[in-house]
Amino acid sequence: GAGVSQSPSNKVTEKGKDVELRCDPISGHTALYWYRQSLGQGLEFLIYFQGNSAPDKSGLPSDRFSAERTGGSVSTLTIQRTQQEDSAVYLCASSPGHTKMRAGANVLTFGAGSRLTVL
């Protein structure tokens, strides 16, 4: 597609339920990122996928959070047993992800985000 697509755009769930958030990156982009943005705050890194390499999961806040990327394209972020503090906007981004690129040179294209509200 022309841009990064995320779904759902809004999700309201009850505490304790599981949720899945989907990200469809720009075609051909090998790098995919998930960030979390709480109200009025900056972006908190969650996880990063680059091609067939093992993902960088260093930002996942707990084992309730997991993500996968199937076929090097679409990614799903899963939050199990949601808590109220999980309420936030979850942003997905992709980039061309050239492997020889120096750190900080990868330009990210973001989706509009999935707003999660846990009641």
Binding site: G42, A93, A103, G104, A105, V107, A112
Partner: protein, 112 residues
Amino acid sequence: SQQGEEDPQALSIQEGENATMNCSYKTSINNLQWYRQNSGRGLVHLILIRSNEREKHSGRLRVTLDTSKKSSSLLITASRAADTASYFCATGAGAGSYQLTFGKGTKLSVIP
């Protein structure tokens, strides 16, 4: 932990004035980027400056980088109401990582 920290947290100016936002970071970088986020939307890339560059321009945007002070500034000249948004700086997490770390942002309000 956050690598970049923007200041001020919030800035309100009249249309036509210039807006300056600052970003400080902690560790050495190869590149620094600035992004804009309109309310309720994702972030949009504005400009990238390399560590061997001191200044870069793009339209009404001017970015400076001072690696000795570990700081960068974003100047928006002749601001417009449409520039109202939050602005974030982003840096690489370090050698061997392609993680981008964002600051908390500066919320700019341009009053018509």
